[in-house]
Symmetry: C2
Subunit: 243 residues, 2 copies
């Protein structure tokens, strides 16, 4: 891989072969580098004039709050992911984005992004295309929430995370470092924290996965994959379609 190719540029090159100019525009988007601490949300539900972000380091989650105080995590994002795109497209954010760890991200102002999209439609396509592929992940979550039980959901979630992290070099087939709490898992999987704990114990006792001390260790990938009915193909790309 050429030097100085950002994770995002790398990702987008799966969708379109970008010109020097377009790559330059992409680089420009990395000028406003910012850090965020845990507890300081990047994007807030209902706020307008939001910026988008390109995540360079750390983990975040996007979630929606309900009136009764419960929340549903829609998506966990890891380095290389684009954040808050919809909040720019819609002008007003429909979800919150919270750092799970300290993070480093490049802020892209709404008007800059829209400007770049207008001038470089091919770049726009690549970005929106990538976003539309992220949707496949959301759909998988939806299926899990609707039709899988707690064990299966958990297994699927951990396998998906593992696969995504491996794609950006942050994990091995044996496991990965994971900053999520059991409360995060509960909010992502539509469960209670208590039940998350029960399920994790079962999976551990059955010798399938261990989720402990900030580390996920996969003991039996095959059985886990089968349990979760996990098919990684929705996470893979197969080369650029837009030439």
């Amino acid at each position: 891989m050429p030097n100085a190719l950002s994770p995002l540029a790398h990702k987008l090159s799966n969708f379109a072969i970008l010109s020097e100019t377009e790559m330059g525009v992409l680089d420009d988007m990395h000028r406003r580098r910012r850090n965020f601490a845990v507890g300081h949300d990047l994007v807030l539900q209902g706020q307008t004039r939001q910026a988008a972000f390109i995540l360079a380091k750390g983990w975040v989650c996007s979630y929606k709050l309900l009136r009764d105080g419960s929340r549903q995590i829609v998506d966990i994002q890891i380095p290389g992911d684009f954040l808050g795109l919809r909040s720019v497209l819609f002008r007003t954010a429909d979800h919150n984005i919270e750092p799970i760890t300290e993070i480093e991200a490049s802020e892209v102002l709404g008007k800059d992004l829209l400007g770049a999209f207008s001038k470089h439609p091919r770049l726009a396509s690549a970005v929106l295309w990538a976003a539309s592929c992220d949707e496949a992940m959301v759909v998988e979550h939806l299926v899990g929430l609707g039709r899988r039980n707690a064990r299966e959901r958990m297994a699927h979630f951990l396998l998906e995370l593992s696969t995504r992290l491996m794609l950006v070099g942050l994990g091995t087939p044996a496991g990965f470092a994971c900053p999520l709490t059991q409360y995060h898992l509960a909010d992502a999987l539509g469960l209670s924290a208590v039940h998350v704990n029960r399920v994790l114990r079962e999976l551990r006792e059955d010798g399938l996965v261990t989720f402990q001390y900030g580390q996920v260790t996969i003991h039996n990938l095959d059985v886990l994959t089968d349990l979760a009915e996990f098919d990684r193909s929705y996470l893979d790309q197969e080369g650029p379609l837009l030439r």
Copy 2:
């Protein structure tokens, strides 16, 4: 509205001001008009070389099948919606699309779509942009499945349908014609058909909505909206952003 403006063109004009040429390309996509009967899926999970479709008439649903035979409906589509976009972008479909009624749809071959996208990137942006807004709907479903109970889910689902149908002139605030069976509702809401029936009875007895004889009648919009915590803003557009 100018004559001969297709529902899709109308929808896309919310996202980008399209040129005559681009409108022409869009029109060309409507050449291969096809009809499908109930029971003949348009797109099949796992198949490659899929076409996309623009729905002109009737309802369809996209769903995923699980090993145990259960299924989860991800989305219901109504006239004006674009179908199977992801199955073209990914080259192989990750979901099925089934007609709920007899439908009329324009088939757009994968290579034609990709060709048009390459030559008219602005058009591509508009289409992908619209798709990314459809994602907001999927996210709402996800939140419902994760954090709402059966009553709330049902109320939310019916209100969303009502709003979408009104936007294309197929419903009024008082109700709409609805070809869905209670099995469809069950598969969409992650419930059993039996429980769907229970919930519908309750809502009817409480004087909120009636779902009967292919007709949804909304008796008390305010209470229903409050029960569902329904906020229609995610379905609205506010004028084109891409000029």
